[in-house]
């Protein structure tokens, strides 16, 4: 059956230079004395070390576990002793350092005990498969390094097609090419496991037509399988996930969306082989095939490299560097980035190490102003307007850049490749993206600070008002207390007055008195009257005396 292929807009045909590294078969790299394993070799959270300095580890032993959902475990890539867990330079465009586990190898390269699972993958539960893939540290080996087990979780979506990406569209790189040529059965085996995990209806393997040998090997290996190997016309950047999906199925993955949304999962061929090794052989991911190439390398080839091997160690195995080497690039010439040192280790996403000579790298002085010729827009596979974006990035008009869909840019480098003025357009986009991220972080921080500040203000306000309320209450209570007293006094006085005025203010117990009581009262009254009489007579005597005394005094 001949499948109808589709096409995406744009794309370029850079010279391939793949043949220079495919003359020899894949050979294992010699073991380096020291392996430096970064905890962060993938997209997502860094792994957490589970070993300590001084521990002896075997190859395949887990030395750092995945931390969180989007993360991947790290395994010792050879036997030896952990000598350090510290910051070391890692492959990063900015030359950053990050925590690495350093192993001094003992040269024995002893594996941890491993073997195929007791049950066949077909009997295994999907979650069991995913768990093994997760704990084997498998990430996308095409270059992005996204943890593979996540992509094998269709979360309820119906997966129509599993695509294995053997396009390898970047010049120079041939690691997937060689893998497909030499180990097609591993790829097929991995594909079958992933199909099982995803319940995918069909499996397609895409290979560009500049790799006829790889295509032939896969076709040969698929003879008895329900897997279709498709030869696609060579066009950079066809290896981009969304571009490949468009070519094979005509479907467009929405901006910001995932292939799962259109019922497709794409995995790299090398990832498939790694899945096979993990499930069928019980071997975690400890090495990968790396292309060592470029005009600056004497004997370009493909090596099977344990992770953590310093790049210099590999370059030395390929005849060393020529004198006019201008820079060492990790990845392809289109999307790779320059290493600031050759001591940097190979990680899971290192598909190639290229040594570029002076002649390969355009000096920055050749950069001319943009003449808005639009050649970049013609080749952009995402149909952006690269030169407009470049103007916005230069002018720091980041809002406009986002309005022109800066974040849809896949940084494939087609625009820079065709630019007649040699403008490094992608650098401008990376710059703008980083700035926007920084601004967003800054804004988040500012928002956070503002919220905190506002909270503080409101707290102070609240405390103030609470204090005021408390005070007011106290005062009110105090006032209330004094007025209560007066009121009580007044009330008492009023009661007394009322009692005085009221006709019934006689003692109440005057009625129904007994004889004896009446006698008693009478006698008491008599006595009171007598006493009154006495008192009055005495008062009168005293008055007379006083009056006589006064008269006497006046006389004198």
């Amino acid at each position: 059956m001949i499948r109808k292929l589709f096409s995406f807009k744009g794309g370029v045909h850079p010279p391939q230079f793949k043949d220079i590294s495919t003359t020899q078969p894949i050979r294992p790299a010699t073991l380096a004395q020291q392996l430096v394993l970064p905890l962060h070799q993938h997209i997502g959270e860094s792994a957490t070390p589970i070993v300590e300095v001084g521990d002896y580890v075997l190859r395949g032993q887990k030395i750092a576990r995945a931390q969180g959902y989007v993360s991947a475990a790290v395994h010792a890539s050879s036997s030896g002793t952990i000598v350090a867990i510290e910051e070391r330079p890692i492959p990063h465009p900015s030359g950053l350092s990050a925590t690495c586990i350093v192993i001094d190898t003992d040269g024995k390269d002893r594996w941890i005990e491993h073997g195929p699972a007791e049950t066949s993958y077909t009997e295994m539960d999907v979650s069991q498969l995913r768990n093994i893939i997760r704990s084997s540290g498998i990430v996308g080996l095409g270059g992005a390094g996204f943890p593979s087990y996540i992509k094998l979780n269709s979360t309820g979506a119906i997966i129509d097609t599993l695509i294995l990406n053997g396009v390898e569209c970047e010049p120079y790189i041939s690691c997937d090419d060689m893998l497909m040529r030499e180990r097609p059965e591993q790829i097929i085996a991995g594909a079958k496991i992933m199909r099982h995990a995803l319940h995918a209806k069909q499996v397609l393997i895409a290979v560009e037509d500049n790799k006829p040998k790889a295509h032939a090997a896969l076709v040969d290996a698929c003879r008895n399988e329900d897997i279709e190997v498709i030869l696609v016309p060579t066009l950079y950047p066809q290896g981009g996930e969304k571009q490949l999906i468009k070519v094979l199925t005509g479907k467009e993955v929405p901006s910001n969306g995932l292939p799962v949304q259109v019922g497709i999962v794409v995995q790299n061929v090398a990832t498939a082989a790694a899945v096979h090794n993990a499930i069928n052989l019980g071997k975690p991911l400890t090495s990968r095939i790396v292309t060592i190439s470029g005009e600056g390398v004497a004997e370009p080839c493909n090596l099977e490299v344990p992770f953590g091997t310093p790049m210099r160690h590999l370059l030395d195995q390929c005849g060393g560097l020529r004198n006019d080497v201008n820079r060492i690039i990790m990845g392809g010439p289109m999307m790779g980035f320059a290493m600031h040192s050759t001591e940097i280790p190979v990680i899971k996403t290192t598909n190639a190490i290229l040594a570029a000579t002076q002649a390969n790298v355009a000096p920055p002085s050749d950069i001319m102003p943009c003449i808005r010729c639009g050649a970049c827009a013609d080749v952009c596979p995402v149909e952006l307007l690269p030169q407009q974006l470049q103007w916005f990035a230069r002018a720091k008009e980041f809002d406009r850049a986002q309005e022109y869909n800066l974040f849809d840019c896949i940084e494939c480098g087609c625009c820079s490749y065709v630019c007649p003025s040699n403008i490094p357009l992608v650098h401008y986009y990376r710059y703008a993206k980083t700035e926007i991220w920084a601004q967003e972080r800054e804004k988040e921080k500012a928002d956070h600070a503002r919220q905190r500040h506002e909270f503080r203000l409101s707290r102070i306000e609240r405390e103030k008002s609470e204090k005021a309320a408390r005070l007011a209450m106290k005062k009110a209570a105090a006032q209330g207390a004094s007025s209560n007293k007066q009121a009580a006094i007044q009330a008492a006085m009023a009661r007394a007055k009322a009692r005085k005025n009221s006709p019934g203010s006689e003692p109440k117990n005057t009625d129904n008195l007994t004889e004896a009581q009446q006698q008693q009262i009478k006698s008491t009254d008599d006595m009171r009257a007598k006493a009154q009489q006495i008192a009055e007579s005495r008062r009168a005597q005293a008055q007379q005396m006083m009056a006589g005394k006064q008269a006497k005094d006046e006389k004198e």
Partner: protein, 324 residues
């Protein structure tokens, strides 16, 4: 840019074969003036001189302007026009890549407005004139304004076909009578048609080499042809044929060499089509009803102004953003 210059050569040769040495003198004068001014400006702006001088942009400006100025124009006119184009239209805006207007057309329009008489008197083409100045005579006339003793100025120059058409139509003459004049050839103006065909050849070569895209030339010539065809059908006595419009004046030169200037034009594919249509329609409008006989320069400049807006409204759909 250098290939743009190569593509101009056939048209330039035929032009000078038909109209004499004046064409070559113009082009050379403009080139010298442009390169000198460019170097001066680069020096003043402290930019690397060699790199920018060899990019060919000043050369192309000079060639276009030299071709647009009437042959045998006084030397100082060419110099002023070119220097104005390079200094004001290009470097004061920031140099290569930053100029909103086509520098050659700014130079041309400045001269046309400042020296209307000189800028509209063209030598008669070879087949219509007994007199053809030789190199020495041409140089003497350009630099000193002195004609050979036996040549009178009015015998040497004549109005261009587009100019004649405008004047005669203004006098209410019928098209048939006007075009019967020997100044009108089989397809366009006598002589002009061949020059334009040579430019067309150069332009098609540029397109074939993918130096220019098909959008602007096709849209401009297409819209010019369609609109002139429409009016030709309505009243052939008052409006000339589409072929005449395409092969007269600067239509072809403008379509392939001037309106395609990427710096001052629209850059999105759809935008380029609209830009071309705009230039074509404006050219017809100014030619048919405007105050100037030819209109490519004005149309291009007017559309230059609209280019950013056109770009804004013709952004292509981005991959994965709705639609099909």
């Amino acid at each position: 840019m250098l290939r743009v210059a190569y593509a101009l050569i056939p048209g330039m040769l035929i032009y000078s074969w038909l109209f004499g040495w004046g064409v070559i003198i113009n082009v050379l004068l403009a080139t010298v003036a442009a390169l000198a001014t460019e170097a001066l400006m680069l020096r003043l702006r402290q930019r690397p001189i060699r790199m920018y001088l060899t990019d060919g942009s000043a050369l192309v400006t000079a060639l276009l302007l030299g071709l647009a100025i009437p042959p045998l124009a006084p030397w100082w006119m060419v110099l002023i026009g070119t220097a104005f184009a390079i200094i004001f239209a290009k470097h004061l805006y920031g140099g290569l890549g930053f100029n909103p207007f086509n520098p050659a057309m700014i130079g041309y329009v400045m001269l046309l407005i400042s020296f209307p008489r000189e800028m509209t008197s063209w030598p008669a083409p070879l087949s219509l004139s007994e007199i053809q100045l030789n190199l020495g005579e041409s140089l003497t006339y350009v630099f000193a304004g002195i004609l050979p003793a036996d040549v009178r100025l009015d015998a040497l120059t004549m109005a261009t076909p587009l100019d004649v058409l405008r004047t005669e139509l203004g006098l209410n003459k019928v098209m048939e009578k006007i075009t019967a004049s020997p100044i009108f050839g089989a397809m366009g103006g006598t002589g002009w048609e061949w020059i334009n065909i040579a430019f067309l050849g150069g332009g098609l070569w540029l397109m074939y080499k993918k130096i220019i895209s098909w959008h602007v030339p096709t849209a401009m010539l297409g819209s010019l042809a369609l609109i002139s065809l429409a009016f030709y059908f309505i009243d052939p006595t008052a409006y000339t044929s589409p072929l005449f419009h395409l092969l007269s004046g600067g239509a072809i030169l403008g379509a392939f060499f001037i309106a395609t200037d990427p710096v001052s034009g629209a850059t999105t594919p759809k935008g380029r089509v609209w830009f071309g249509i705009g230039v074509g329609v404006l050219t017809y409008i100014i030619r048919a009803w405007g105050g100037y006989p030819d209109a490519v320069a004005f149309s291009v400049l007017l559309m230059n102004m609209a280019a950013p807006t056109i770009d804004h409204y013709t952004r292509p759909r981005v991959f994965g953003h709705g639609g099909k």
